[in-house]
């Protein structure tokens, strides 16, 4: 098993989906591809992660613990999302989706997974850039799967803003390359390879690196949904079909964050100053702050979750900025936790849309009465995402803030704590009206085994990760922390 084979799986599934003649075939390839990818991916990641960096394609691709962590997340979320979509999109009935679209959906879905995997496995920074641009292009079609006015609008904004962002990031990459070409001797073809640069970071020109980091931060920050570059995010996440929203929110944003992190590591080592860390903290806190009003006063629950993603990416960025064992561990664990929490919420939102037929918060009442399982899962998701124990995000939030306090960033942490209270208030305000009470009108109360199963699995993961970080995951994150902390090449 190599990185190449792993990357081939989604490509093959994508084309199988495109080539399928019936819905059943599409569904089969769609789900089976994800299952295969998840099984192979998790096996690969957890068996090989501990054995040092694994290179492929002439060193252009590689897997270090950091990449492995994200890869494990991508394939796991891909599986959940695919299984859920398998129940959600392929339903027969009056509102059934035509085969043409399903084929397209399956194709782009797996292509999307492929580009994300490529992102996390990329060693060559140029390839990483290409693959991140690829994720935009692939997912733009997923956002706009139903060709409605609003989804076209969302997809357009997504495309334009992320393309601009990614272009700026490329500017930064060229600057990095330039500073490498200037100062580092003997790089040859490896000059854009992250492993090479990380090893020789001290030789990079610090001033150019600072400039480069600014471009990278703005560029990948746009993709990662950091404020004030996040504007595309609520539109795209709210218009995409729920399983796609889950992937967008859960892993895509994190992949872009990984991009930032890679450069943060280089910049920190090159400049030997907290410059990049401070910028990360600033934009992290700003993202949380910007999310607050939108969460407090929100009418559309999918947008609510989207803004919450802005908030959580802010937290991750702040955690990375805080640094130290606590901050890095917290931020990386937060990526995992947020992915599970947010995807559960988006799965719930798919359910809600299905049953209540509206995205408006004000029109939904008494979920618990209509569908206790959904109501419970939804509320659990809300509690998880706002950082309540015994759910997982509490743990990572705790670590991130520990990191902040340990690093002496009292002011930033104080603001974060303050803002988090408002975010909690906003979420609870919406949730308690949606989940509790008596439903206003009779709503469809049909159940779907697969979807229910996914919800239960989601809640299970939330609680499990909240009380226990499994050993392999722990070791993986520890490895990633040592990479991010610059202690290993």
């Amino acid at each position: 098993m190599t990185i190449g084979y792993l990357l081939a799986i989604p490509v093959v599934s994508a084309f199988c989906c495109l080539a399928s003649g019936t819905k059943a075939f599409v569904r089969f390839f769609f789900v089976a591809g994800a299952v295969l990818l998840a099984a192979a991916g998790e096996y690969f990641v957890f068996t090989r992660a501990g054995q040092g960096n694994l290179f492929a394609f002439g060193g252009n691709l590689f897997m270090d613990p950091l990449g492995a962590l994200f890869a494990a997340l991508i394939v796991a979320l891909g599986l959940l999302s695919a299984v859920y979509a398998g129940g959600y999109l392929f339903e027969e009935g009056p509102s059934a989706i035509p085969l043409r679209k399903l084929r397209r959906y399956g194709f782009f879905f797996h292509l999307f997974l492929f580009t994300m995997l490529l992102t996390v496995f990329a060693n060559n920074l140029g390839i990483m850039w290409i693959s991140i641009e690829g994720t935009t292009l692939a997912s733009a079609f997923l956002v706009n799967i139903d060709d409605k006015k609003s989804s076209v609008e969302a997809a357009w904004k997504y495309l334009i803003l992320c393309s601009v962002g990614i272009a700026l990031a490329l500017f930064g990459i060229i600057l990095v390359y330039y500073s490498a070409a200037l100062g580092v001797s003997g790089g040859g073809n490896y000059l854009l390879n992250w492993t090479f640069l990380a090893g020789r970071a001290k030789e990079l020109n610090p001033q150019v690196m600072r400039l480069a980091f600014v471009f990278i931060l703005v560029g990948y920050g746009t993709k990662a949904g950091l404020a004030p570059f996040h504007s595309w995010l609520p539109d795209a996440h709210s218009q995409a079909p729920s399983p796609v929203s889950a992937l967008l929110s859960g892993v895509l944003l994190s992949c872009a964050t990984l991009g930032i992190l890679r450069f943060h590591i280089l910049t920190k080592a090159a400049t030997e100053s907290p410059f990049s860390g401070h910028l990360l903290i600033f934009f992290g806190v700003l993202s949380v702050a910007v999310a607050v009003p939108f969460i407090l006063d929100q009418k559309d629950y999918k947008r609510l979750f989207a803004y919450s993603s802005v908030e959580h990416m802010g937290l991750v960025a702040a955690g990375l900025g805080f640094g130290g064992a606590w901050g890095l561990y917290g931020a990386l664990l937060h990526v995992v936790n947020h992915a599970f929490g947010k995807s559960l919420l988006f799965f719930c939102s798919g359910h809600l849309l299905h049953q209540f037929g509206t995205k408006e918060i004000g029109k939904i009442r008494g979920i618990l009465k209509v569908n206790p399982l959904l109501g419970g899962a939804f509320f659990a998701g809300i509690m998880a995402i706002t950082g309540m124990p015994p759910f997982n995000i509490f743990v990572s939030k705790f670590f991130i803030l520990c990191g902040g306090f340990a690093g002496g960033h009292f002011f930033a942490c104080g603001i974060l704590l303050f803002l988090l209270v408002f975010i909690f208030a906003g979420f609870l305000r919406h949730a308690c009206n949606m989940v509790f009470g008596i439903p206003e009108k009779t709503v469809r109360a049909e159940r779907n085994r697969v979807m229910d199963g996914v919800l239960l699995a989601g809640v299970f993961f939330l609680v499990l990760l909240g009380v226990w970080v499994p050993g392999p995951l722990h070791r993986l994150i520890l490895g990633a922390v040592s990479v991010a902390g610059g202690t290993t090449g």
Partner: protein, 676 residues
């Protein structure tokens, strides 16, 4: 001992989960939940009492699943044991009560789920007191909030319950933010998550940090405790929960905040500062007075009790605050007395407030209303409830020889002992505070006379009150147990106070332990000012009462006793509507404290008739909820208004979005240039 701790955990967990086995039969599942909670409570009482008596703590360690936080280390020292005792002690009668009370919910609610929350609520409270690590503490603390939130919104069909739950959870979360901040500041100073490290590091903390940590802890735990002005959730949330839960929330949950405050002040922050005590006293007296004044105006029985909880938290804070003041004024012996008074009051409050909430629950289940204006005459229909409620009322009004009196007496003396300190301010305020506490005691008596008198005495004011029925046997047993304990905790003061004294003495080296607070059956104030013996008081009263009764039968013989209608100065045709209403009862108070209440009245007058004979068609009077209207509502309004305005940054125009990116990029580049 350690086995009993595990047994308690096990009972809670299994009891919570086992209810689901008999989910089809709510009777069984309720019984499983309540009985296991009861068993857990009993085992908790045993080991905590054992620890309090022997002074030897228990430490338990589990392998934690969460990395970086180390093992889950739980420890029961004397302070924890005291609060575990409090919780367990209250949970026993409450569980008995719930056996019968929860029948209310059969068929309407998910009974096993209720049982699960009930058991986990108790468990989380116990864990809060045992946690010895920030992570475990915060987890337990938040789970406590979460589970109690679920319990508050048990009747979520009612929008009021939802609102109350929202307010509660948001406020308590805000409080948690402060608490967490306080913990993290300690963590940043000591570099470890464990409480032991904090304690070891306490002496090395910088004064500025200590002050900030104290402030954060005070606001955070003050919110949970219901300290004014952070109290507004309490009168909303406590009444909405099922009554056994209200009893636990008021009796036990808010005490966990007191526990944590004590732990902070005496364990983590090292030598205390004078101003901390002053601030505690300020908040304490403020809570005491405002709490009881608002309670007086309530006609909702459970809200009244909730406001009174605020008052009692204030009394406890007065004790703690005075302890801090006395420590910093180098009066370690008096400080011991003050802290012991606070602890004692915490225990007593658990007993009588638990009792009163159970009584209110019994009334609620018998009449389906909490509005005392609709009650009346319940003493005939619900004699047991009435007797128990009366006991609770007398205890909370600090009447001898019940338990409330003892702790109030101790608090009064602790406050008064400030006159022995140096400094004009302390001396002056200690006496003023003591007399203000006296004022609050008298107002509390008024409040509970009103509550008991209007609800239980006189004639029924509505059909609901007329059809009232006494609760089931288990409800009665639950209440009677607590009523007896109100007597017991008062009479057993000579046994309890030395234990509390020892406990307070162990809190910090700044307090002198080993001071005899007891002489025979007497409670002795260490300054030699005073002593008191509740058994004697009880005995003298019993003797004098029996002497009077005997003397009367002996000297005056038997006399005829006739029953007739009320005389009422010769008025005939007395109807229930002519009785004094609860609102009328507290009207004089409302008038003289109108600066606080800002009462409003709305009268609609009938048009016909001469002006002298004009009658009111509709009369409405109310008071202005000052804190809500001046602090919280404007805050919430502002937050929403601000959000609405701030949301405009997301205009929908892609050019504007690009502009954000562009401007930020420019700014960052300029910043980079300038800063290099």
């Amino acid at each position: 001992m350690g086995k009993l701790v595990l047994a308690q955990f096990l009972f809670y967990v299994l009891g919570g989960l086992a209810g689901f086995l008999r989910r089809k039969n709510p009777e069984h599942s309720n019984r499983i939940a309540c009985v296991s909670a009861l068993a857990a409570g009993v085992s908790g009482m045993f080991y905590s009492a054992g620890i309090l008596l022997s002074g030897k703590g228990i430490a338990l360690s589990f392998r934690g699943g969460v990395p970086l936080c180390g093992a889950v280390f739980l420890e029961v020292d004397a302070l924890s044991a005291f609060f575990i005792f409090l919780i367990s002690f209250l949970s026993v009668p409450v569980s008995i009560f719930a056996l019968g009370y929860n029948r209310e919910y059969f068929g309407k609610k998910n009974v096993p789920l209720l049982g699960l929350f009930y058991n986990f609520f108790l468990l989380s409270m116990v864990l809060v007191t045992m946690a010895r690590n920030i992570f475990v503490f915060l987890t337990a603390w938040e789970i406590m909030s979460l589970v109690s939130y679920f319990l508050v919104v048990t009747e979520h069909e009612n929008p009021k319950a939802r609102r109350a739950g929202l307010l509660y959870f948001v406020m308590t979360h805000a409080g948690t933010a402060f608490i967490a901040g306080a913990f993290w500041l300690l963590f940043s100073a000591s570099g470890a998550l464990a409480f032991d490290a904090f304690r070891a590091h306490a002496a090395m903390l910088s004064p500025g940090l200590k002050n900030v940590v104290f402030f954060c802890a005070l606001v955070g735990f003050g919110t949970k405790a219901g300290m004014i002005p952070f109290h507004i959730w309490l009168p909303e949330a406590h009444p909405e929960a099922p009554s056994p839960i209200s009893a636990l929330m008021s009796g036990a949950m808010i005490k966990t905040a007191i526990y944590a405050l004590l732990r902070f002040i005496f364990f983590f922050l090292g030598p205390v500062y004078f101003w901390w005590g002053a601030v505690l006293l300020g908040f304490g007296i403020f809570s005491v007075l405002v709490g009881i004044l608002y309670a007086l105006m309530e006609k909702d029985l459970k809200r009244l009790l909730a406001f009174s909880s605020i008052e009692n938290i204030g009394i406890i804070l007065l004790g703690i605050g005075m302890g801090v003041v006395l420590i910093s004024s180098r009066q370690p012996i008096f400080a011991l007395f003050a802290v012991a008074a606070a602890l004692y009051h915490a225990l007593n409050h658990a007993a009588f407030k638990g009792l009163l909430f159970l009584g209110a629950g019994s009334v609620l289940s018998g009449t389906h209303t909490r509005n005392i204006e609709e009650l009346g005459g319940l003493i005939k229909k619900m004699p047991w409830t009435a007797a128990c409620f009366l006991t609770g009322s007398a205890a909370i009004s600090a009447l001898p020889p019940l338990n409330g009196f003892v702790s109030e007496w101790m608090t009064l003396l602790a406050l008064f002992s400030g006159v022995d300190c140096e400094g004009f301010g302390i001396r002056f305020f200690s006496v003023v505070l003591a007399s203000l506490l006296g004022l609050a005691g008298a107002l509390a008596a008024t409040c509970f006379v009103k509550a008991f008198g209007i609800a239980f005495l006189g004639l029924p004011r509505s059909p609901r009150a007329e059809c009232a029925r006494e609760g089931s046997r288990s409800m009665k047993i639950g209440m009677i147990t607590l009523a007896l304990s109100c007597f017991g905790l008062g009479l057993a003061a000579p046994v309890i106070v030395p234990i509390l004294g020892k406990l307070s003495g162990e809190l910090t080296t700044e307090i002198s332990g080993n001071i005899p607070l007891i002489h025979g059956s007497f409670l002795v104030f260490p300054g030699g000012w005073s002593q008191i013996s509740l058994p004697w008081v009880f005995g003298v009263m019993a003797v004098s009462l029996s002497v009077i009764a005997a003397a009367m039968t002996v000297f005056a013989g038997r006399v005829s006793v006739k029953t007739g209608p009320s005389w009422d100065c010769g008025m005939r045709g007395l109807t229930p509507r002519m009785q004094y209403s609860g609102t009328g009862y507290s009207k004089p108070i409302r008038r003289i404290f109108s600066f606080l209440y800002q009462p409003s009245r709305k009268v609609e007058v009938e048009d016909e008739g001469y002006s002298v004979l004009r009658t009111a068609k509709h009369f409405e009077s109310g008071i202005r909820p000052l804190f809500e209207e001046t602090i919280y509502r404007p805050m919430a309004k502002f937050a929403l208004y601000f959000s609405e305005k701030a949301k405009r940054i997301q205009t929908g125009h892609i050019q504007i979005y690009l502009g954000y990116i562009f401007v930020t990029l420019l700014a960052l580049l300029l910043f980079t240039r300038v800063s290099s």
